[in-house]
């Protein structure tokens, strides 16, 4: 559908490897992948998809206020997520469950958000520098750029030391490209030559609005106008997603400034569980993308490499277990105490918080008194 002659691809939808002049430069990244890593790609995509289905079920069963499915976007996320180094920082939007999982985020943290227990609450220092989800479309792009400015000011770019040089990876959607903030992030990133990769998951829809309303021009052209190098990839090809992100992050870390990747993918599910895509999407498009599924494509590839049934069975079991554990832990989640509302509005003592905490306590006590 929105593939262009420039779309980079290493793995065709039928699971066979494809070669082209344009992807030549990326091959070293693929060649360096171990069998273990390839298996991890598959495992992560499968586990997160199964988890995603479970979370959707939990929502339907009234256990979550909302769920935000990532089904269909696993290759874009898993490839890019594994490409980041431990010292890199990641600023997600709100659909990057697989990336969070890769970086060590307990996915039940995401469930807590969508169960109405927290607005975030994880500590990026404990989740592999995977920062909080941001719901105001595009806002995180500027935080990422500012963070990357800081990395540069700290001198942790272009030193040549692979454990020092640091990049920032920021995710956003096709709808987000229309926001002023995202375009200002391009301006600042290019002006300060930040060590940063903009990762656009073009899943073709912003809720019910098709990407052509945001732009009649392929979105990967946009950053080039700002002077930011950019590529468009098949985002359902986990190998391409990995290689393109690894190469872009390397460029960013080595001081070449910001880079941009448009990953063409598709939101197979609804925007959220509150959404009804049948109102605006047609079946043909859906089928087109189903046939380009990122996981089955990669499964075929692995089988072609000789991976046996045992592995796939093991992963399926693991995914089942992961999902059922997430379910059990979800059901055991406790609500936050009322006074937590006041606890972290400010990092220091604040008289209004003190007074209102007390007011609430007094008010609640007035009922306990039997009034």
């Amino acid at each position: 559908m929105s593939y262009t002659p420039e779309t980079l691809q290493l793995l065709a939808p039928d699971g066979t490897r494809v070669a082209s002049d344009a992807t030549e430069a990326y091959l070293p990244y693929i060649d360096a992948l171990t069998e273990h890593q390839l298996r991890e790609f598959y495992r992560t995509m499968s586990v997160i998809r199964r988890f995603d289905v479970e979370a959707g079920n939990l929502q339907r069963q009234g256990q979550l206020a909302l769920w935000i499915p990532s089904i269909g976007q696993e290759a874009a996320q898993v490839g890019s997520g594994f490409a980041a180094k431990p010292q890199d920082h990641i600023f997600p939007a709100y659909r990057e469950h697989a990336v969070g999982h890769i970086r060590g985020l307990d996915v039940v943290q995401i469930i807590k958000m969508l169960r109405g227990l927290t607005h975030g609450g994880w500590n990026p220092a404990e989740t592999g520098n995977f920062h909080l989800y941001t719901l105001v479309i595009g806002s995180q792009s500027l935080h990422a750029t500012g963070y990357a400015m800081g990395v540069k000011f700290d001198g942790m770019v272009g030193t040549g030391d692979p454990d020092t040089d640091t990049a920032v990876l920021v995710y956003f959607g096709d709808g987000a490209t229309s926001q002023g903030d995202v375009n200002e992030a391009f301006v600042f990133a290019q002006s300060y030559q930040t060590p940063q990769v903009f990762f656009l998951q073009n899943n073709h829809w912003a809720i019910s609005v098709p990407v052509r309303v945001q732009s009649r021009t392929p979105l990967f052209h946009r950053p080039r106008g700002f002077g930011i190098p950019s590529v468009q990839i098949d985002g359902n090809d986990v190998l391409m997603s990995y290689a393109a992100t690894a190469a872009s992050l390397d460029a960013a870390r080595s001081g070449e400034g910001p880079q941009f990747i448009e990953a063409l993918t598709y939101r197979i599910g609804a925007h959220t569980t509150s959404d009804d895509p049948s109102k605006y999407r047609d079946e043909d498009e859906f089928q087109y993308w189903l046939a380009r599924d990122p996981i089955s494509r990669f499964e075929t590839y692995l089988r072609g490499l000789g991976e046996g049934e045992a592995f796939f069975t093991e992963v399926a079991d693991e995914a089942e277990q992961f999902a059922s554990e997430a379910r059990a832990r979800t059901l055991a989640l406790q609500g936050p105490p009322a006074e937590s509302m006041f606890a972290h509005v400010y990092s220091q003592q604040h008289p209004v918080m003190d007074a209102q905490r007390q007011q609430l306590a007094d008010y609640e006590a007035s009922f306990e008194g039997g009034a």
Binding site: A65, L66, L117, V136, S178, Q179, P336, S340, M341
Partner: protein, 361 residues
């Protein structure tokens, strides 16, 4: 009869530019635009009908926003309208609130009457600059030669169990801004009429729709609006304490009054309806009678509409007040995770608690 607008806001409107009409009128009508008698409707549906009536009576009325076309808006308020009026009059925009408000201003300069939907309260802020520095000021800047008949619909408020940015009440920001008019309906009837009155206004109107009241049903009288846009209204008479609020607070205040009555306290309930300007006359008359006032709102209390009402009523009815004006509001924190909203938001108990406090003076 045709649903036309009433009230002081029905003027000739800005000079419109002529040119080929963009709506053919050939599409099947999916939303009735002419209605008579009364009907029991949800507020969401009443808004749909009100929008349809306004679009029918003036083809310069256009709707703009995110997901308002085939989806009909995330709250389905524009459901069917794109089918009926065409994609040039019900416009799915790019995802950029500043862009939406800014282009709506340009369209209004061209003679259109854009009705903008902001998807959720918390997402109005990217459009705040265009609203504050442009929309609110351009009429004054033009010194009489420009009218900006733009309505910005803002679904707002809590009690819907949603995630961050989806439950807020940002009215105060706009009520502090000269050049804007602010209203908020509390019932389907008012929703049906006030949206039409707002669209007929030649000034920018921020139209705050209480999300938690989208689905309860109420009677709409298609025959008459019953009140002008910028008026408040006593919705229950009482003698002991006046309670005032807007939007979703009104039904809560009525519930509180019911309970208070059982305990022998008579509350007079005022539905503010217009937040800027505020129609103080009924409120002051009430307070002069009861001597006590409780203001309820979902927004944080500090520097809010509740603060303004307290200050103004105290100034204008100083000698009548037996107690200070008391405020019941959201706490001065960000809107908390949904599991805590029941504690954060005013409820009947907190309103009655404040009523009791007012009565201790």
């Amino acid at each position: 009869m045709t649903a036309t607008t009433t009230g002081p806001t029905t003027t000739t409107g800005p000079a419109t530019t002529t040119g080929p009409a963009t709506t053919t009128g050939m599409e099947p009508t999916v939303v009735p635009t002419t209605t008579t008698g009364t009907e029991i409707l949800t507020m969401a549906k009443a808004l749909t009908l009100g929008l349809a009536a306004a679009m029918q009576s003036d083809d310069k009325v256009i709707l703009m926003g995110e997901d308002i076309g085939p989806l009909g808006g995330v709250f389905r308020v524009t459901e069917g309208l794109q089918k009926q009026f065409g994609a040039h009059r019900v416009i799915d925009t790019p995802l950029a609130e500043s862009g939406i408000v800014g282009t709506a201003i340009g369209l209004a300069m061209r003679g259109y009457r854009p009705v903008v939907e902001i998807q959720f309260d918390g997402f109005i802020f990217p459009g705040f600059d265009q609203i504050t520095t442009q929309l609110a000021k351009l009429t004054a800047r033009h010194e009489g030669t420009l009218q900006l008949p733009i309505v910005i619909r803002v679904p707002y408020g809590g009690h819907i169990g949603a995630v961050e940015h989806h439950q807020e009440s940002p009215e105060a920001y706009f009520a502090h801004t000269p050049g804007l008019r602010l209203v908020s309906p509390a019932t389907p009837h008012d929703a049906y009429w006030m949206i039409q009155q707002a669209i007929a206004s030649t000034d920018p109107v921020m139209f705050f729709e209480p999300k938690s009241r989208y689905w309860p049903k109420g009677e709409v009288d298609y025959g008459s609006a019953g009140a002008e846009l910028h008026t408040s209204r006593i919705v229950r008479a009482g003698t002991d304490v006046t309670v005032v609020g807007h939007g979703a607070m009104v039904s809560m205040l009525l519930d509180a009054a019911e309970l208070a009555a059982e305990e022998g306290t008579s509350l007079e309930v005022v539905d503010l309806r217009s937040l800027s300007p505020i129609d103080y006359a009924p409120l002051l008359e009430s307070v002069r009678k009861t001597g006590r006032l409780v203001v309820a709102q979902e927004a944080p209390g500090s520097v809010s509409i509740g603060s303004e009402i307290a200050a103004t009523v105290t100034e204008k009815a100083f000698y009548s007040l037996e107690a200070p004006v008391l405020r019941v509001s959201g706490y001065d924190t960000p809107f908390p995770p949904a599991k805590l909203e029941g504690i954060y938001l005013p409820d009947v108990d907190r309103i009655l608690h404040a009523v009791d406090r007012a009565l201790t003076y």
